[in-house]
Symmetry: C2
Subunit: 350 residues, 2 copies
DNA sequence: CTGAAAGCGCTTACAG
DNA sequence: CTGAAAGCGCTTACAG
């Protein structure tokens, strides 16, 4: 009973105003830290606000100001890899700005995407962060048409400057990974790429080629296998590589999932990492440090990318210009325990 | 130029009404599928709506109806394990209801939590899903006081019936895991638990004990190690177990992260899984299938839990009663490749 | 079947 | 420094 009455009742601004003996105009001013209120009045109102735990009604503000204070993050699905790092960064950046984050997963379903697109028109979002690798149902075009600020995260297949994008130095990553292996003494380096119709997959391969060429190592087409960024491809192509007359002493994979596949294939054959085979991945997704042994990989600055993308979006929402329509953050090598000098004894395949 | 004019202009409801030569009342009725509109009128308005891609302004509806159409998911941090599965389920359930999902990460920071709590008062969320293992800054109490519908996901330390919660059959999971190992022929089974001051950690241990007792196997305190649900604990306690005069032939861990630690420790000592040591985890987090070899583990129905929690919350928001204030979904065994019959030869520790 | 009007809770010129 | 009043874009009794 006494309990019941303790339940704080939501007050409105008019009630606060009445209580304080002023107009809502004045209350509004102190809430929004606007000038034009006497110090005493301000203090009195301030106290009342705190006492009652008063917070402005969001819908009313939103309606009046035309800003919802929240942004959308659109992804294909939650996978715990790339997406997770980005979300981290976005959350970080948003914490300061006070915006809310609405997460929407399309599941690669065109109907779902269209639904989301339609809902976007209700003005409940101030801007959107696109984490979709492909151009799906013309989302960027639709957003531009509707004048909704957005920035696309992750490297796109088609390099574009029509809208703001943020990526990382993929080519350099491919180069760095290969270079690392070469510096360890490897000469026969296998690569399991992503789908080669994607620009970003080709960029890794190009970096690989460049490193080999610079080191004066010939490129053996037999060492280049194509995958689809899936664990299963890592397994399958490892066996392809292993079954060759002169197998590689190291394998570089287009992403970490494929590296996990390599691990599984090697484990089956009882080939030790890094003693008998070096493995290097790409992305530096959360679980890479959990692998046995921990994976050496190319780090994509996912958190920073998410943070920067958010920063860009916030500028766009505020009507400010961008320094550049496309920015690339630097990839880097993360040395853990999956690479070593090549074995000196021949591979004894079980 | 012609391009420019193609940019569709946002219309308001009054404009649609004017265009159709009717009142906003009528337009509103067709938009909300309410009766009381002539078939012809309805059709005409319908067409206009579609032609103009008209969508009701969210803020205005929200203000008027007192419902924001979005719910909050509060988590400590995005980790790609437990949280991810839950989010999947929540997204699923929300897709049907049309609610939006706002994700908020507290980072275990009390200030951030209080900030969120305060923001909750602006009525921009219809309800909240709590994915916090501990009672932090009295969040449940605050929510109850504010009359904000919520349901807590995941097993709590203190069993509670004061507010809606959803969990899974932890004890049964501990029992099932141990039973599986026993059925494979293991007699000396090590366990690396979570912090034993947590009810849920003790539940796993109790299940382990029950299975052993039922099988008539004595309980050896030396085989029970306490961890903190971290990978590092898995590594450390594996060595503890391994260094004993009579080491176990199988290890059961309180969660999958600790299992990953076990993998790393065993890999260092060159002990093969499952040939020389069986390992079984708990949770069935996304990456367990990626481990080498894929981890046999106890599955927590994370997706279903997220889905059901959302369903419960939606009922609460709608003012409907719950069938039960606490529900537990069933854990189950997922057999992959990390368990086998115990080795017959002695362990040759490298 | 249809519409005029009030009102949700704020913010913002504008006037004093 | 302070306030009266309009208005953001809808929905909902209520009347016709």
């Amino acid at each position: 009973m006494a309990q019941e009455s303790k339940q704080s009742k939501r007050l409105t601004m008019v009630e606060i105003a009445k209580e304080a003996g002023v107009s809502t105009t004045t209350v509004s001013k102190v809430l929004n830290q606007l000038p034009g209120v006497g110090a005493q009045t301000r203090a009195r109102i301030q106290r009342l606000i705190e006492q009652n735990d008063y917070v402005q009604n969001h819908a009313a503000r939103h309606l009046r100001k035309g800003q919802s204070g929240s942004i959308d993050l659109v992804i294909m699905r939650l996978e715990g890899g790339y997406d997770l790092g980005i979300m981290h960064g976005v959350q970080d950046a948003l914490e300061e700005s006070g915006h809310r984050l609405t997460v929407f997963a399309t599941h690669e379903n065109e109907d779902t995407e269209r639904l989301w697109l339609r809902r976007l028109l209700d003005r409940s979002t101030d801007g959107v962060l696109l984490l979709l690798p492909y151009e799906r149902v013309g989302i960027p075009n639709a957003l531009m048409e509707q004048n909704i600020p957005f920035v696309a995260i992750g490297d796109r297949n088609e390099p574009t400057t029509t809208f703001p994008t943020i990526g990382s130095t993929i080519w350099l990553g491919g180069y760095t990974a290969t270079e690392h292996l070469i510096s360890l003494g490897h000469r026969r380096i296998g690569i399991i790429t992503g789908p080669l119709h994607l620009t970003t997959s080709r960029a890794r391969l190009a970096g690989y080629r460049e490193a080999l060429e610079r080191a004066g190592i010939g490129i053996d087409p037999a060492l280049i296998c194509e995958g689809n960024y899936l664990l299963g491809d890592g397994i399958k192509q490892t066996f392809t590589l292993l079954n060759q007359p002169d197998p590689p002493t190291a394998i570089f994979t287009g992403n970490d999932a494929q590296a996990a596949g390599v691990y599984q294939a090697l484990y089956k054959r009882n080939i030790r990492i890094p003693d008998d085979m070096s493995v290097i991945g790409f992305d530096d997704v959360m679980y890479t440090a959990q692998m046995a042994p921990p994976l050496t990989t190319i780090h994509q600055p996912l958190i920073e990318m998410g943070r920067m993308a958010t920063g860009m979006l916030l500028r766009l929402i505020a009507g400010l210009p961008l320094d550049s329509n496309h920015v690339e953050l630097s990839t880097s090598l993360v040395v853990r325990e999956s690479c070593a000098a090549p074995r000196t004894h021949p591979l004894s395949t079980t």
